[in-house]
């Protein structure tokens, strides 16, 4: 039944499953610092998965993508976020709009939808990692969900970054990654985005004395 799937395909599937698991762990995580650590771990897993794809298919530019992922998503961005949390002295738990078990159930539904949507698409593809397209889509949807239900600014940014992780996985699994130029561009975008959002954090807090972005919904000054 499974004998025809090579070891590398199994490894890719395993890493993809770990990425999905980490996406759920991030969804369930109440505290900020472990959330960032989970994000770093997701980046690392993504890097490993990309490395396996690169090694199996011999696509040289994927090594570059893997290195970029490692440096940017597993080291640099978590470090920046850690520093931000330290400087902003965020200690309180992350608050969600709905409670965690309900979020989890919503997450399961999203995963089912993603898997069903991705199944016919992945059958069109001929890559070794085509099975993981559903997982990539699910990761994107879960990151969306996280951005929707979290009220604080930092978890929303982590959700945004996790979404980028999912998109990267989708690109790798469907078409062996995007051209290097595009990837470099996205990486730069993400990096600059996080830095700008870091500046925003300070502005938001100076204005409202809190990082709760619900404050931004009021259009008029009091």
């Amino acid at each position: 039944m499974n004998a025809d799937i090579s070891l590398s395909a199994q490894l890719i599937n395993l890493f993809a499953s770990v990425i999905l698991l980490l996406a759920f762990a991030m969804l369930a995580q109440r505290r900020v610092l472990p959330l960032i650590n989970l994000f770093a771990l997701q980046g690392l897993t993504l890097c490993l998965s990309t490395l396996v794809v690169a090694f199996t298919t011999g696509q040289a530019h994927l090594y570059g993508s893997a290195a970029l992922t490692l440096v940017l998503k597993a080291m640099l961005l978590p470090w920046i976020l850690h520093r931000l949390v330290r400087q902003l002295q965020v200690r309180a738990d992350v608050e969600g709009l709905i409670n965690i078990p309900t979020t989890m159930i919503a997450g399961i539904v999203l995963v089912m939808i993603a898997f069903n949507v991705a199944l016919p698409i992945s059958q069109l593809s001929s890559t070794i990692s085509r099975g993981t397209l559903g997982i990539a889509l699910a990761t994107v949807m879960l990151a969306f969900l996280m951005m929707i239900i979290r009220t604080k600014a930092i978890p929303q940014v982590v959700g945004f970054l996790a979404m980028e992780n999912g998109l990267f996985l989708a690109a790798t699994s469907a078409t062996y990654g995007m051209p290097m130029v595009v990837e470099l561009g996205i990486a730069l975008d993400v990096l600059v985005g996080v830095i700008i959002l870091g500046v925003f954090f300070f502005q938001i807090r100076e204005q409202f004395d809190s990082l709760d972005i619900r404050n931004l919904e009021k259009l008029k000054e009091r």
Binding site: L14, S17, F115
Partner: protein, 317 residues
């Protein structure tokens, strides 16, 4: 059913009865070491059972027949569970008696009887413990079933022996779904065996206890049977987990050498598993009772994810 199979089955049951208190003793010992306490002797559980069997039974005034029968039912259920789960060999005469779904039912039967007995006396602690046990149970059971369905989908059978046979004698294939199911199973077995994130087995602290609250009124041989049944439950869950996720070393055919080789493998796996269990218990704090649904909800979620991943990744059309 042949003579050898019957003998093997009896031997497995005897081994379960002997090893189960030892496993509990080993976990307690490891836990004491990890927590920098001086450890009780490894055979402490045997001493306790011996002491309890010698003592007289004191029954509460309002105790009905149910209260007296419940320990025997619970003990019987656990022995049957230990007999069905392939601990040493997959060649079991009793295996057709119950598949995995019925196995979950056997655990459920024991749970119902112990909860009813706890409520039978009418003390507040008894009913409190019984209700909490049912709360944990009704959340843990679907998660356990989902875990079992994941493994059943791989082996296309719900018989425990067949599942273990399929999983043990396959080519080396990484099943991501089994990883999910394994984590979910770990969560469920912690909750079911009254271990730390959900219940603390070593406390009689009134507000937090679940399992201990239910058996407060028991004494003498009844208490001994219930304690023994609790050890057997831990043993059964450990063996089920080992059989599903680390099935190497379980004998397949009917041979004396296979059985004899399976024993050291089982003991080694149980020793490692027990030490890990004690380590996890030491590292974690007990959660509030109202967090238990979240804990078990996570287990259910992981098990469902395992099923989904199995459908997406491992069945190629």
């Amino acid at each position: 059913m042949n003579l050898f199979g019957t003998l093997g089955q009896l031997f497995a049951i005897a081994l379960a009865l002997l090893l189960a208190p030892l496993l509990t003793g080993w976990v307690n010992q490891c836990r004491a070491w990890f927590q920098n306490r001086s450890a009780p002797p490894l055979l402490q559980q045997y001493y306790m059972l011996h002491k309890l069997f010698l003592k007289d039974v004191v029954l509460a005034h309002g105790a009905s027949q149910l209260f007296r029968f419940a320990p025997f039912v619970v003990f019987g259920c656990m022995v049957l569970a230990c007999a069905i789960i392939p601990t040493l060999s997959t060649d079991l005469p009793l295996a057709p008696a119950a598949d995995t779904i019925a196995l979950v039912g056997v655990f459920g039967l024991a749970r119902i009887f112990i909860s009813l007995a706890a409520m039978d006396i009418g003390t507040s602690f008894g009913s409190l413990g019984g209700r909490r046990e049912m709360l944990v149970g009704f959340l843990a059971e679907p998660a356990l079933l989902m875990v079992i369905f994941t493994t059943a989908m791989i082996s296309q059978s719900t018989s425990v022996a067949t599942i273990v046979e399929t999983l043990a004698h396959r080519d080396f294939v990484i099943y991501p779904s089994l990883a999910f199911a394994g984590i979910a199973f770990t969560f469920v077995s912690f909750a079911e065996n009254a271990r730390v994130p959900v219940d603390n087995p070593a406390t009689h602290l009134e507000l937090t206890m679940i399992h201990e609250a239910m058996i407060l009124e028991y004494s003498g041989r009844h208490l001994a049977l219930i304690e023994w049944a609790a050890s057997l439950k831990l043993y059964a869950y450990s063996c089920l987990g080992l059989a599903l996720f680390f099935p190497w070393g379980i004998a397949q055919g009917a041979s004396v050498s296979g059985l004899l080789l399976a024993i050291p493998a089982l003991v080694a796996k149980l020793a490692i598993g027990g030490a890990l269990l004690a380590g996890i218990e030491t590292l974690n704090a007990k959660v509030r009772i109202f967090r238990a649904p979240e804990f078990l909800g996570t287990a259910f979620l992981l098990a469902v994810l395992g099923l989904l991943v199995r459908l997406l990744l491992e069945t190629r059309i």
